[in-house]
């Protein structure tokens, strides 16, 4: 059954590629073995076959034909539109390509990468095999564990608007958002989608991991237009960039501890300081650290527990104490 269908589809492709003029459905039925005589049954099967070819990316063209043929639409596939253009790769280029194809391994586009490689091999390119990874000494991977990645990539590719439930940071309940997606960007290991939020009529960035439930298409393909000159990487970077570190905190830190804070300290006095330091009486160091948001930095400091104590400013000190008391509760 399936073999006969494969044979029929293959004959159809060869038939459509071999003709310069458009063929009517009836001419195709006569040329390709396996279609039923009964007109309605043939029509249904032919429609499905056309759809399958289109899904494989075979550029099926329709065009006008002579009325003498009794029908008004004809079909063909142009060689030039069908064929992969000539492509010759040097050995080093093929090696990099093999490395690139592995990036998606076990991720959303793994099948597409394998399909691409198959076509390139079919074009005579050998992308292999001794493992460019071992030669380069490097092995890159990207993961797409967020279920929203697949539908959002399709929406971006086909320029379709989407709706989804989104739980913003700190929100207890998700909200429905409608987005015209412009692009999907992985930043610091997380996927984000950027686009125009229809309700807010403004550019917005959403984290894929915070999308709750399915992503649904809310409009036809081709109905999203990205503003000219938009760089999605830049949109995501702007929304996600950390503000400047404009505050300064003074902290006492236990010797040999709080390395996570010391790494960013601008001033260290005490026993751990290099030659310049003046030892404090109790052996602790005093460090000065630049930070941006009080809440974020209080989180950091609190995590060091008794190894780090804020001297100033007072609002930071209070924020840390609040967290510690919260941990007691």
């Amino acid at each position: 059954m399936s073999r006969r269908k494969t044979e029929r589809l293959l004959s159809l492709v060869v038939c459509l590629l071999s003709t310069r003029r458009y063929l009517t459905a009836e001419q195709i039925r006569q040329a390709v073995a396996g279609y039923p005589e009964q007109p309605e049954a043939f029509k249904r099967m032919f429609e499905r076959d056309k759809e399958e070819l289109r899904e494989l990316g075979i550029p099926l063209e329709t065009g006008p034909i002579s009325p003498l043929d009794g029908e008004d639409t004809g079909y063909r596939v142009q060689r030039q539109a069908y064929e992969l253009p000539e492509l010759v790769l040097e050995a080093d280029e093929a090696a990099v390509l093999g490395l690139a194809a592995r990036v998606w391994r076990n991720a959303e586009l793994a099948g597409a990468a394998a399909g691409a490689l198959l076509k390139l091999r079919a074009a005579g390119i050998d992308t292999d095999d001794a493992g460019p990874d071992t030669r380069q000494g490097i092995e890159p991977r990207v993961h797409t564990t967020e279920p929203a990645f697949g539908p959002l990539w399709e929406a971006v590719r086909d320029r379709r608007p989407v709706t989804f439930a989104y739980r913003a940071a700190g929100r207890s309940e998700p909200q429905t958002r409608e987005l015209e997606p412009w692009g999907v960007v992985n930043r610091r290991g997380r996927w984000y989608v950027a686009g125009r939020d229809r309700d807010r009529d403004a550019p917005r960035v959403f984290r894929l991991g915070r999308i709750a439930g399915p992503v649904k298409f809310s409009g036809p393909p081709g109905s999203v237009t990205m503003p000219p000159g938009t760089d999605v990487r830049e949109v995501v970077r702007t929304m996600d960039s950390s503000p400047p570190r404009e505050h300064t905190a003074l902290l006492r830190v236990r010797p040999g501890a709080a390395f996570g804070l010391r790494r960013y300290a601008t001033l260290v006095t005490g026993p751990d300081a290099a030659a310049t330091g003046t030892p404090a009486a109790d052996g602790w160091d005093t460090i000065s650290v630049q930070y941006s948001g009080t809440s974020w930095f209080a989180d950091q400091v609190a995590s060091f527990g008794a190894a780090a104590v804020v001297l100033e400013p007072p609002d930071l000190r209070d924020a840390v104490i609040r967290r510690l008391k919260g941990a007691l509760a």
């Binding site: 069908y82 040097e90 990036v103 739980r167 000190r317 008391k325 919260g326 007691l328």
Partner: protein, 331 residues
């Protein structure tokens, strides 16, 4: 073996007609572009058994068009284990790349351009240009997806690590372990660099732990290439990057914590075993870890937005930690 080869299918899952058609349309040009190829090599390249391949070849050979007289557009033979296509008619070249196919490769190649320490940049830009040209319009949507790779601050550390990898030398690392808030010193025999989730890691045989360890490059505080040759034991198991970098083990401590809506980021930032919604945005998070010190620090940081449910002793430790810290503020 190249890993992007389609995997051999498990016994009874037959491909769909569309999938098989795709394969047949690649098979003919594969043979044509190589003039002649062996059955075994071809079967291998397509992830097929020789029997499946022969079945494909027979199917191709049997194709018949009646136009109006019957003729066979494809002529081939595979006598003596060598495939020769003598007539391929209109399917002698592979089909163009679909948007997904072109995108998968182009997105990955552009990501590689960001990867620190990849030496072959000229090959990279050449292959990107060639692929864009070959894909034509299908290449366009790939510009709307990007994977950014963080560049670790210390480029010179990376240069030294690459030098050690190339010359197979032992490294001395000063490495920050945030979970324990420790700056550790250790000798490491480098194995390779991994770029996963936008971060770069050194994989190496740690002589202090006597095992394979990953070191995040942005946590390397100092690095020194030693004169000692690297000695990675022959049975050292590289990390399987496709299974995730952090794999729980049976010896791990099982931790349960509850977080408020403000603490939901915990489930996004840490590898968890299960996450349960408790209503009002609250979550119960279960995880396994060999070392609970980082969980204690996490609990302090969460404050009232988090609560350790189990194990009991961890809850007690957090309470002690908080009390000790508050004492420091009281003085």
């Amino acid at each position: 073996m190249s890993d992007a080869t389609p995997r051999k299918r498990a016994g009874n899952t037959a491909p769909t007609s569309a999938e098989r058609l795709q394969r047949l349309l690649a098979l003919v040009p594969y043979v044509v572009s190589r003039k002649a190829v062996g059955l075994a090599d071809t079967a291998d390249a397509f992830g097929l058994t020789e029997r499946e391949l022969v079945d494909d070849l027979n199917l191709l050979w049997c194709v018949e068009l009646r136009n109006p007289d019957p003729y066979c557009p494809i002529d081939l033979s595979y006598e003596g284990g060598e495939i020769v296509v003598s007539q391929a008619e209109s399917i002698g070249r592979p089909l163009r790349l679909a948007v997904d196919e072109a995108s998968a490769l182009l997105i990955a190649l552009r990501m590689l351009a960001d990867v620190p320490g990849l030496e072959d940049r000229s090959a990279l830009s050449r292959v990107i240009a060639k692929l864009e040209a070959a894909a034509g319009e299908a290449a366009a949507p790939s510009a709307q997806v990007a994977v950014q790779v963080e560049r670790p601050a210390g480029d010179e550390a990376l240069a030294q690590i690459r030098d050690a990898l190339a010359r197979q030398r032992r490294l001395h690392l000063r490495y920050y372990v945030p979970g324990r808030d420790e700056a550790t010193e250790r000798d490491v025999d480098p194995m390779r660099l991994l770029v996963v989730e936008g971060r770069t890691y050194l994989e190496g045989w740690c002589r202090r732990a006597d095992g394979v360890r990953l070191f995040r490059l942005d946590r390397v505080l100092g690095v020194q290439v030693l004169d000692t040759p690297a000695e990675v034991p022959a049975d050292a198991q590289p990390v399987d990057v496709d299974q995730g970098l952090f794999r729980p083990s049976d010896d791990d401590v099982h931790v349960v914590l509850e977080v408020s809506a403000n603490g939901r980021w915990v489930a996004e930032d840490y590898p968890t075993e299960s996450v349960t919604e408790l209503g009002e945005g609250r979550l119960r998070v279960q995880l396994r870890t060999p070392d609970t010190r980082w969980v204690r620090r996490l609990a302090l940081r969460l404050g009232e937005d988090g609560r350790i449910v189990a194990p009991d002793e961890l809850r007690t430790q957090v309470r002690d930690d908080a009390t000790a810290a508050l004492t420091a503020y009281a003085s």
